[in-house]
């Protein structure tokens, strides 16, 4: 299982490719890519978004479902999805906490 991630050009925010070719700031709303073809199509969409100056540096991330929640396999991507581990009041993790 994979998702595609990038950073928004304008503000550097970490985003993931969502279901309708939108870029979402919450991993739970990312489009899950099950097959190689799904991934290839998503990377084409990402390439277009880069050309359209929405995002930069798109790549794919391995994810798993953990307690029903999409979680990246790699620690680096888990940190990237949440925020600095030493400042729980900053980044996406803080928004999630107050949501």
């Amino acid at each position: 299982m994979k998702v595609v991630t990038a950073n928004r050009l304008l503000d550097g925010e970490v985003v993931w490719l969502g279901a309708d070719k939108n870029w979402v700031g919450d991993l739970s709303r990312a489009q899950i890519l099950e097959t190689k073809d799904d991934l290839a199509a998503a990377m084409v969409t990402a390439g277009q978004a880069i050309a359209d100056r929405q995002v930069v540096e798109a790549y794919d991330v391995d994810v798993v479902l953990e307690d029903g929640r999409l979680t990246p396999k790699r620690l680096r991507e888990r940190i990237r999805a949440a925020g600095p581990t030493i400042l729980p009041d900053l980044g996406k993790q803080a928004r999630a906490a107050t949501a």
Binding site: L10, G12, V14
Partner: protein, 552 residues
């Protein structure tokens, strides 16, 4: 302090306008990311794990209260209320928006600051002893020369596209607090037999993936030849440095692969061609720049302050602060004060906007408006009257800046690591926090004495772990964070690269390992005067290996 003249101000303003237009063109689609990335890097703007990161230059780590307040304002207005002081005396903001960066640069330009050449394959911030102009052991203030090098290296047309980054450091004292021997060019101020000022020149030092101690290429370079000789080194590097492999592109590799004698000969040959040209430093020009760094008027006062002694007798924390956070000053009755940015359990080198404002106020009130940032991620007030220490200390306490741990085990240097950095393979800050808490008791810290722990979150070594007395390198093994320990590194004038002690440790066990090393040191030292480093150098790694791993 150096003030921009009209050329500098024009230069910075032009550069800001240029970058604003580059951002505009990027957002309008006239520049691709491939075209834009090297341009934004030349203005110190990185893309990191969570966001962009802007690295603002603090030339030779020197700034005044007005500039510090501007940094506080930027942290508050454009970022999340804090900044991070780096191991090259700069400051980093972790959350700027690209769309705001032109405005940030414009604000910085108002106080003669910028982010030029804090990234990219060019000459970076020239760093210097953070006690420059104040230290009792100083031969001369290195900062005028750092300023001359800064002017020479800024937008140097020949050296804007080097094989790789290039870092220069300069010390004015024989006790090297600027780590000159692990820089691409290291300069040590010295005097010759006739008492004339000049430099011992080291080339090819560096950390990163292939740490190396710099090789001496000149025992004595006369003052007037500083720029011509530096230019000669850069020309040889630019010409012969490798461009085929990013990991073999620094000058240290060129020294290693060419051989010192041949490289020295190349440098001297180039130098001979240019030494009497435009780069020769006229004496009056050096003296003119020196005048900008003229020390503030400091009254000669008694070497011992009654106010300090009285307070020490009744306040153990103050006594600890005085014992560790003061550096001897040229002028009796004064000291250079280290304001520790390493609160127990805190994030090394981070400062909130309020703390930055507090430092600015204190510098104005008690410090002749001078502030320094050290490459060990602390803030220094270089010129403080001893009599003012009790009042200054009380203000520091209010802002959580009064930890008396300069140079002690909790004065840890740590890179941002995988909490922030896209290059990292492990986190470094949580390890620093845990070590700090484990050894946080003042008595324990004082008992252990001088011990520099340096932590890097990847092999790029931005935390300078190779030159830590205890160095910790964070790696990834089977998807887990994994820490390798090195021992016996030092960035002083007796520089050494730390030696890997053995198998690495998990995040759960690395702090226990550090404690084992500390306890081993305490049990083996010849006396409380023998530091960890000296004990290690006397005994070698065997007893420490034994303690960590047992008999093989």
């Amino acid at each position: 302090m150096y003030r921009y003249d009209e050329f500098d101000q024009g230069f910075v303003t032009q550069r800001t306008d240029q970058f604003r237009d580059q951002v505009r063109r990027r957002l309008a689609g006239e520049l691709t990311e491939e075209e834009f990335k090297p341009l934004r890097l030349m203005n110190g703007l990185y893309l990191q794990l969570h966001a962009y990161m802007l690295r603002v230059a603090i030339p030779y780590g020197t700034l005044n209260s007005r500039q510090m307040r501007k940094l506080a304002h930027i942290a508050r207005t454009y970022d999340k209320g804090y900044g991070h002081f780096t191991t090259r005396q700069n400051i980093q903001f972790n959350w700027p928006k690209l769309s705001d960066v032109p405005a940030i640069l414009e604000e910085l330009a108002e106080v003669e600051m910028h982010a030029i050449q804090t990234s990219g394959n060019c000459i970076r911030n020239v760093t210097a002893d953070h006690f420059a102009g104040a230290a009792a052991d100083e031969i001369a203030d290195p900062r005028p020369y750092a300023e001359i090098l800064r002017q020479w290296s800024s937008l140097h047309p020949e050296f804007s596209f080097l094989p790789r980054k290039f870092k220069i450091a300069i010390t004015g004292a024989p006790n090297d607090r600027a780590a000159v021997q692990v820089h691409d060019i290291g300069l040590q101020l010295t005097r010759n037999g006739a008492g004339e000022i000049g430099f011992t020149v080291f080339v090819g030092g560096g950390l990163g993936r292939t740490p190396m101690i710099g090789r001496k290429v000149r025992d004595f370079l006369p003052e007037e030849d500083l720029l011509a000789y530096s230019e000669a080194i850069l020309r040889v590097y630019n010409r012969y440095g490798r461009r085929d492999n990013k990991y073999k592109a620094r000058i240290k590799i060129l020294v290693h692969e060419t051989g010192l004698d041949e490289l020295k000969a190349d440098i001297e040959a180039e130098f001979e061609k240019i030494r009497f040209g435009v780069l020769r430093l006229p004496d009056d020009e050096v003296r003119r720049i020196e005048a900008y760094f003229a020390p503030p008027p400091l009254e000669v006062l008694p070497a011992v302050s009654a106010a300090v002694e009285t307070r020490k007798a009744t306040d153990a924390a103050f006594a600890q602060f005085v014992a560790h956070n003061l550096n001897p000053h040229r002028v009796p009755g004064h000291a250079s004060v280290t304001v520790s940015m390493k609160p127990i359990g805190g994030i090394p080198g981070d400062a909130s906007d309020r703390q930055m404002e507090a430092v600015a106020d204190l510098a104005e009130r008690y410090g002749h408006d001078e502030i320094r940032i050290s490459h060990e991620q602390n803030v220094i007030l270089p010129h403080v009257r001893l009599d003012d220490l009790p009042a200054l200390y009380d203000r520091l306490v209010e802002h959580g800046l009064a930890e008396g741990n300069a140079g002690l085990i909790t004065d840890i240097i740590a890179c941002p690591g995988m909490d922030y950095c896209a290059l990292a393979t492990a986190r470094s800050i949580p390890v620093a926090q845990e070590i700090s808490e484990r050894f946080g008791r003042p008595e324990r810290q004082a008992e252990i004495g001088d011990l520099k722990i340096k932590i890097s979150g990847c092999i790029n070594a931005c935390g300078h772990h190779h030159v830590g007395h205890i160095g910790i390198l964070g790696l990834e093994k089977k998807g887990e964070e994994f820490y390798q320990i090195t021992l016996g590194g030092s960035a002083s004038e007796n520089a050494s690269i730390g030696e890997i002690v053995g198998r690495g440790f998990s995040a759960e066990t690395v702090v226990d390992a550090v404690e084992t090393l500390v306890d081993t040191y305490l049990s083996l030292r010849s006396g409380s005067d023998e530091t960890f480093l000296d004990t290690y150098r006397r005994l070698g790694e065997e007893p420490f290996k034994e303690a960590l791993y047992g008999t093989a």
